[in-house]
Each structure stands twice: as structure tokens, then as C-alpha cells.
């Protein structure tokens, strides 16, 4: 049976955001595009389990996140090492992570524990409600809220510290600091 074009269009409409989420999870565009592709293959193969009228983005994000998590475990035996590896990916392939002006911000994001990072992205960038984010991550709403809060606090620390110490402030970080000081 052919896929309803309306459903197909909903899938396509979600792809740009799905990609942005994948890149922020992987820290690497090539891997992210593989992940998106795999997600779509999986989703279209199981499109019957999607209920028309429900939240297509949340459905696709859930599949992508689950795939990412299970591959994560397959590829890297120790889950605890995953965050360190992410940071390494950023260091060794800065050209694959996106535009230069976001590199420092991405690096700081890469230092967050992955559960905090995904919560922050889902709520702060993808624009999901706390409830949808909780569904996507398979946890309680309160858990999402506290992860987002911790992520924000940690990110503020990281950006402030990085700019003063090792790295030297780039434009973005200087803007953060200047904005804070001036007003």
C-alpha cells in the first residue's frame, strides 16, 4: 500500500528539525545524516503504528532518540565513556560539526551529560513542551525539568569559564559576557 501523501508530507516537514536534533546528539553531521536516514527507514516501515492526527514530530524524534541510544550502546561498550567520546569527536573533526561561529557553543554543549543535553535541545531549541520531551525521552516531566535546569546552569558556567581561561573568548561568548555586564 502506498503512503498517504499527507502523512509523507508531515514526515518531510519534520526532517529539518530532526536533522538539527540528530546533529546535536551526535556532534557530527555525517553520522547525524545516517541516523536520520535510518530513522526514516524505520519510521516508514512501521508507519502503521503512527496514529494520524497525533504528533508526528514527537513520534519521529522518539524513534531517532531510541536508535541513537541503542547504537550508542552497541558502538561504545561503556555508556559512561560516551560523553568523553563526544567531546573528542568535536575536537578531532571540528569541520564536521557545523558552522564555525557555533563551534565554541557546541563544544560547551558537548561537555554536558547526554541526558541533559537532549532535554535542553528538545525544550530550548526544538520547541517541544516538557510533556512531549518527557514522552520522547521516556521519563517523567519533572525529570525533564530538572535536566533542563541543570543543563542551563552548567552551560553558563562552562561558557564563562572557557572564555576567561584556556580558549580565549570568541564572538559568541564575548557577547554573552558583554551582555551580562552591561545591562
Amino acid at each position: 500500500m502506498k503512503l498517504d501523501p499527507a502523512i509523507r508530507d508531515q514526515v518531510l516537514a519534520t526532517v529539518p528539525s530532526l536533522r538539527a536534533f540528530a546533529i546535536s546528539l551526535c556532534g557530527n553531521i555525517d553520522r547525524a545524516d545516517d541516523l536520520v536516514q535510518e530513522t526514516l527507514l524505520r519510521a516508514l516501515a512501521h508507519i502503521d503504528s503512527f496514529q494520524p492526527g497525533t504528533n508526528m514530530p514527537a513520534w519521529l524524534f522518539t524513534i531517532l532518540r531510541n536508535l541513537f541510544r541503542s547504537e550508542y550502546r552497541k558502538r561504545r561498550r561503556e555508556v559512561e565513556d560516551a560523553d568523553g567520546r563526544y567531546a573528542e569527536t568535536l575536537k578531532s573533526h571540528p569541520e564536521q560539526t557545523g558552522r564555525v561561529e557555533f563551534s565554541e557553543f557546541r563544544a560547551a554543549l558537548g561537555k554536558l551529560p547526554s541526558d541533559q543535553r537532549e532535554a535542553l535541545i528538545l525544550v530550548g531549541a526544538s520547541g517541544f513542551s516538557y510533556e512531549d520531551a518527557a514522552t520522547i525521552c521516556g521519563c517523567a516531566v519533572g525529570t525533564i525539568k530538572s535536566r533542563v535546569n541543570r543543563a542551563r546552569t552548567r552551560l553558563a558556567d562552562l561558557l564563562a569559564i572557557d572564555s576567561v581561561d584556556d580558549f580565549g573568548p570568541d564572538r559568541a561568548t564575548r557577547a554573552v559576557l558583554a551582555g551580562g555586564g552591561r545591562t
Partner: protein, 81 residues
């Protein structure tokens, strides 16, 4: 006597009022006040950065190979299995 310096006193007091009463639990002085303010500013900038970074990717739209993949799979008679 009482009218000697109302001009000096009032503007800072009015300003402090706005910044302080909402932000704080007590008046622990300028340090705390600016810390809270810095925190808020930083949080606002973090939010902007986060969205700018994300939207930068979103604005790239659907890559051609993915568009093709989805259209091809959705035309298949078998479903995608």
C-alpha cells in the same frame, strides 16, 4: 531640610526596586544583585545561541537524498518492509 536632596535619592531607589524585588529573597547587597542579573542575561544569551545553532541546520531544509528516499519509500507498494 527634608527637601534638600530628594533628587539624588529617588532615581537609584526606584531602579533598585525594580531589579531587586523580583530577583531576590533579601537585600544581600550589590554582589548578589549583579550575580542574579548576570545569570539571567547569560541564560537569555544561551537560549538565543541554542536556537541560532539549531535553526542554522533547520534552515538547510531537507537534503535532496533524504527527500528522494522518503518519496521513493512512500511510493512502494509493499510498504517499506
Amino acid at each position: 531640610m527634608t527637601t534638600s536632596k530628594p533628587v539624588n535619592l529617588q532615581p537609584p531607589a526606584a531602579n533598585a526596586d525594580k531589579a531587586e524585588t523580583r530577583d531576590e529573597m533579601g537585600k544581600s547587597g550589590t554582589h548578589r544583585r549583579s550575580e542574579v542579573r548576570l545569570g539571567r542575561e547569560v541564560q537569555a544569551r544561551i537560549g538565543q545561541q541554542l536556537r541560532a545553532m539549531y535553526d542554522d541546520v533547520v534552515s538547510q531544509g531537507v537534503p535532496p537524498h533524504i527527500d528522494e528516499l522518503v518519496r521513493r519509500l512512500s511510493e512502494q507498494d509493499d510498504g517499506a518492509a
